[in-house]
């Protein structure tokens, strides 16, 4: 399965973080507004670069789950 980055965002910072991701060339971010999480394709982005974005709380790599 093609993995993704899961990014949790500080309250009220969704738009700001999305903008910053856009500046990095990430255009198809999936915004989950109710829980304050953004999901992006894994790409070649480094976790350290993503964590530097103002408003980002945590960044994790997507995991597999099953029944």
């Amino acid at each position: 399965m093609k993995m993704k980055w899961l990014i949790s965002v500080k309250d009220g910072m969704m738009e700001r973080v999305t903008e910053e991701l856009g500046k990095m060339g990430i255009k198809n971010a999936e915004k989950l507004d109710s829980i304050g999480v953004i999901i992006i394709a894994h790409g070649d982005y480094k976790i350290t670069d993503l964590k530097k974005i103002d408003g980002v709380l945590n960044v994790e790599e997507e995991r597999d789950l099953s029944i």
């Binding site: 949790s8 597999d64 789950l65």
Partner: protein, 468 residues
Amino acid sequence: MSKNLKKEEKVEYTGRYLVLLPEGSNTSDSIDQISSISGLNLTSSLAFENEFFTDKDLAKTDGIVLDKLGIAIVNEKPEIKMSISSFGDNDMIVEKERVVYAIGMLDESTQNYVEGYRDAVNQMTNVLVGTEVEDYNYEEQQSEVESVGATWGLKATNVVPTSFLRYNPYNGAGIKVAILDTGFDFNHPDFAGRPVVHQSFITGESTQDGHGHGTHCTGTACGPISSPSATERYGIAYAASIYIGKVLSNGGSGGDGGILAGINWAIANRCDVVSMSLRGLVSGTGYSAVFETAAARALAQGTLIIAAAGNDSARPGVVKQVMHPANCPSIMAVGAVDVNLNIASFSNGGLYPTYGAVDIVAPGVNVYSSTKLPTKYASWNGTSMATPHVAGIAALWAQATGLRGINLWKKLTSTAKALPLPGRDVGAGLVQAPTKTRLIKFPIDRTPILVNPKFPIDPIGPIEKIIR
């Protein structure tokens, strides 16, 4: 609009507060706890003869704890207003005391007359047939009347009480339950005509359940009260609104992203309860900070997320830890027990209490429920089967109490049945549904007064119509 109706619309308060103490707490400890939280000095009702006290007694203290009820009546003081949130943090529920009126209030002279009449009737009854002796044996009335035809899990959790004296009037009506799983079999006859809101988060797959797992979990949480083809009742919140989020493929697997999207969708739809019978492997300490943030935000918005602890253990030799995402502190982790209320051999344990405790347990062995056609019904094992028991019962509590989010969590754990097993394995214990006490009407087994043997001869005699 009548005057009486206007009176009912306006809630009046006495100025005092009622504090519901945590389940099982004793009065002495509660008085100490309240004192440390707020500085208020309460008195126990036990300090009064026959626990009878008046408003004057109440006025002499900061408040009185009703020993038998686990409720404190607290006078209005600045300390209590400042401490309300702290009470909440300590599993106490604070309400303003309402002014209540008897239905059809009587003026004093009418009340005296009615009381006199009642006393006279009682006295006459005692003279004629003796004083009433309560010899009705409740224990003998233990009955399986209602529980015939229900799964063992529904009986063990009081969804279908096995005691004749209890009944369950709750069905989840008005509560939205989301099941994030492999989808749902929309052709299952037990759900015919039942509205189901659904969304697939699996690319290329519809919400139709191609596995059966999601239909099984949905059946336990929200299945019907009766079915022409099922061998027994298996559904708990049979009137709840069903929300199906397909986050696992027909092969039974998925990714974090789809699950987070499913949680987000459930919150956006204002679901009260989210049931997730899924798990990702973890080893060692630590939990997903992203999932924890999401779950904490869900709780804050009134959505309780419940997840399976995992089936990775092989007891008694091997006990594995609670898996992702149930190991997040803001997600309720569910373990499984069998029909003897022993921990299931596969049920994971809270090896790292801070990072993944088992919060509660539910039936998870030989659980009968619906599954996809053509099989239609199956009995399966797993913490996956235990989780929708808790979700369905959470819906009943939400309906019964109006509680949501963290308060609903506390209600579930505080009312769980303690089990003689390590807390590591069973947390607060076996989840229990809300029930009510049945109103018993005493059988009429006495001879009517007018033909009582004490008066074998009617002193007046029959009135006959004389025909001349």
